[in-house]
Amino acid sequence: MNVVVMITKNKIASFIEKIPPTPKILQETLALLSIGELTKAAKTAENDLALKAYLKNIVNKPIYGFKNEVSNISQIFGILGVSQSQQTVYNYMVTLLNPNEWLLFKLNSKLFYELQAQLSKKWDTVLSHLEIDNKDIHGAITLLPSSIIVSEALFKEKIDEVTLLRSTKALDYNTILTRLCGIGLFDICEQIANKWGMSTIVSQIIQASSGIKPSDDENINKLGKWMHLLLFYELSQPLFIKAGLNDFIDFQVDYVGDIYDEFSSLMGIE
């Protein structure tokens, strides 16, 4: 009988252990960005060709609204400013966890980058609306899509079983994982944040954005609500629905009820 149990705490521990620490170039780039040294940060970033290619790819997406192609890293950091540059470097770090081939979700690198870009730009709009200018809070959004990567990594070998289970009961991946192992997707995201030395506030916002672990801190909770609603606004886009992302975690409608009108007005939803 060639069967193995579904998911164990050991498997989760092994996944977390395999997460690479922040590469040296990225560490230096982030350190320079954090003190506002955009030019020096750009010079350092130039040494990582994959990072360079990613930055060019992402900022030239239509949502960033540049008329001409931007290809120089100094130019990119200059246009984005400190907070958004840091956010984009974190986005790149998350892509380092991407699988070679997506099996659970119908995703590819291009579509994943698109999700990152959409979330990041709209998160900036939200923070601007809320009059929040904090580079750690700007960067918090980058960790959100890592929950998708974690789901892919943990469930890809059990697709048939999970599909059958989900045809019987409306269970999202976070609930299945929590019920099986007592640890949820967002707990794993928090561990990733810790491993990468991200600020504590990032972990707190991410946990609140799960919609099931509200924060005692009113401000953090408010940001968690906006992030939760923003995530489902994006996951309601046809491309991401077709990728199987719409129901990968549970949307907590009641949790975001009090900010919905403000959100819909900001996003121009009619």
């Binding site: 069967v3 079983e161 989900r166 045809s167 019987t168 309601s236 046809p238 629905i241 549970d250 409608v253």
Partner: protein, 464 residues
């Protein structure tokens, strides 16, 4: 998007925002057909996790509903909404609502012919008289006790007496309903509700596979509740005669309750009686008469005339059946299974205390029945993933066990299809008492596999 199917109701649950751009991505005809193939007779879109929708968004679903109706006659519509969403939908479509609206999915279950928990006291209110009546009729046909509130004041007064009702239905609207024959299980009798003119269509509407498998799993008494039948023609006569003859080898009895022969030839009754069919004035004449029930075979499911042997086809696929069960239980318990023994004999259960069981039949290219016997504690553990918490509520555990066995059945179907063996699965049946199970499968040989999960015994039995 895949549907969750329970009690014959398939529910699609989109999350977030529904507008004209994205609804076709949520639900495609293939997804719906997959649900219909799994015997769903209601196809619903849940609005529980939807925070925004507009008319364009719903229109796409409604066009799809129309296609489903034309092709499969399934009941289609929306469920799980609050009063604001209900008002918005009614306002969008005003008098052009042919789809159904069920305030909750639990209310939708009540209208499903596959819902096994009948006999519920249900308070109904709608400002529309015809809706009130339509709901009452459908619920009555499905074996419930509908109580109609005549106006809003009456509704509020009745609703205040919470303990009097199992369910309260309001903000619900029945569009075109399905045309399947309602089926319900009362004790060990199966009651089919038929109505209108019975003609050649009865052959299409009646689920003969379900009936045959009910015979196979031990049901012996089948009652056609026919008080709403207007007349019957010769095609229907032949159908019922053949059905009765086919059931004779199982020693099964077919009865008609409430059938009026005012507009049907009187000779038909004699022909049907010659075929072994019995007639009673009312359903309760049978169901309330314990002596009669015993005589008709409904009190004992064990009386099997046709002892079928386990054949080579089934034995060859045995590893797949075991895999299907083991993979599912491993998934549910997150524990590894160890096979301890496998032998062919009658089902042997040494200690029947604190055990519950569930069975599911399969039919098609091959047929048979898988039975799982659990210590109650293991069943509890296995059901925790589905329930979300530990519970001692035996009714809930049995209900969830049925879902679990349904997953096993689905796994069997998938694993067999890898070998190009096509099968369908029956609804699962659960047994709170092991003696009831043994009565159903007495003297049937099968393959018994003893398994252990974390040191706890679990029994798998495959038979025909």
């Amino acid at each position: 998007m895949k549907a969750v199917i329970k009690n014959g109701v398939a529910v699609f649950t989109p999350q977030g925002f529904l507008d004209g751009n994205n609804t076709s991505s949520f639900l495609e005809l293939d997804d719906v057909e997959a649900a219909i193939n799994l015997k769903a007779d209601l196809i619903l879109v849940s609005l529980k996790k939807v925070i925004f929708f507009n008319r364009n968004g719903l229109d796409t679903f409604i066009k799809l509903f129309s296609k489903i109706r034309k092709k499969n006659k399934a009941v289609v519509g929306f469920c799980d909404y609050d009063d604001n969403k209900y008002k918005a939908i009614k306002n969008f479509y005003k008098n052009e609502i042919y789809f159904s609206l069920f305030k909750t999915v639990e209310i939708a279950y009540l209208f499903s012919s596959s819902f096994k928990n009948q006999n519920k006291n249900i308070l109904i209110y709608s400002s529309d008289n015809s809706q009130r009546s339509a709901m009452a009729i459908e619920l009555h046909d499905n074996g419930h006790n509908p109580i109609i509130a005549q106006n809003e004041a009456d509704f509020l007064a009745k609703k205040a007496k919470k303990s009097s009702y199992d369910y309260v239905i309001y903000s619900t609207y029945l569009g075109q309903m399905g045309q399947n024959i309602a089926t319900r299980v009362t004790g060990n009798a199966i009651v089919y509700t038929v109505s209108g003119y019975l003609d050649v269509e009865i052959g299409n509407k009646f689920n003969i596979e379900y009936h045959n498998n009910s015979l196979n799993v031990g049901f012996r008494l089948f009652i056609f509740d026919a008080y709403k039948v207007k007349s019957m023609n010769v095609h229907a006569l032949n159908f019922f005669s053949k059905l009765s003859s086919a059931g004779a080898e199982y020693n099964a009895t077919i009865c008609f309750a409430g059938m009026s022969f005012e507009k049907t030839q009187k000779e038909f009754r004699e022909t049907l009686e010659d075929a072994g069919i019995l007639f009673y004035n009312e359903l309760d004449d049978i169901l309330q008469n314990k002596e009669l029930l015993k005589e008709l075979g409904a009190s004992s499911a064990a009386n099997i005339q046709n002892k079928r042997v386990l054949n080579k086809k089934n034995v060859l696929e045995l590893p797949r059946f075991i895999d299907a069960a083991v993979v599912t239980i491993e998934m549910m318990t997150n524990a590894k299974a160890i096979k301890e023994s496998a032998e062919i004999h009658n089902l042997v259960i040494d200690d029947k205390t604190d055990k519950i069981a569930s069975s599911i039949g399969y039919y098609g290219d091959i047929d048979g029945m898988v039975i799982l016997v659990f210590p109650t504690k293991i069943a509890q553990k296995a059901c925790e993933l589905l329930i979300g918490e530990s519970t001692d509520d035996l009714e809930l555990i049995l209900d969830t066990l049925a879902e679990l066995v349904n997953i096993v059945g689905g796994n069997i179907k998938t694993l067999l299809s890898n070998d190009d063996i096509r099968v369908d699965i029956t609804l699962p049946r659960t047994y709170q008492n092991i003696d009831d199970l043994l009565a159903v499968i007495s003297n049937r040989k099968g393959v018994q596999v003893d398994l252990s999960f974390d040191g706890n015994k679990f029994l798998f039995f495959l038979t025909r």
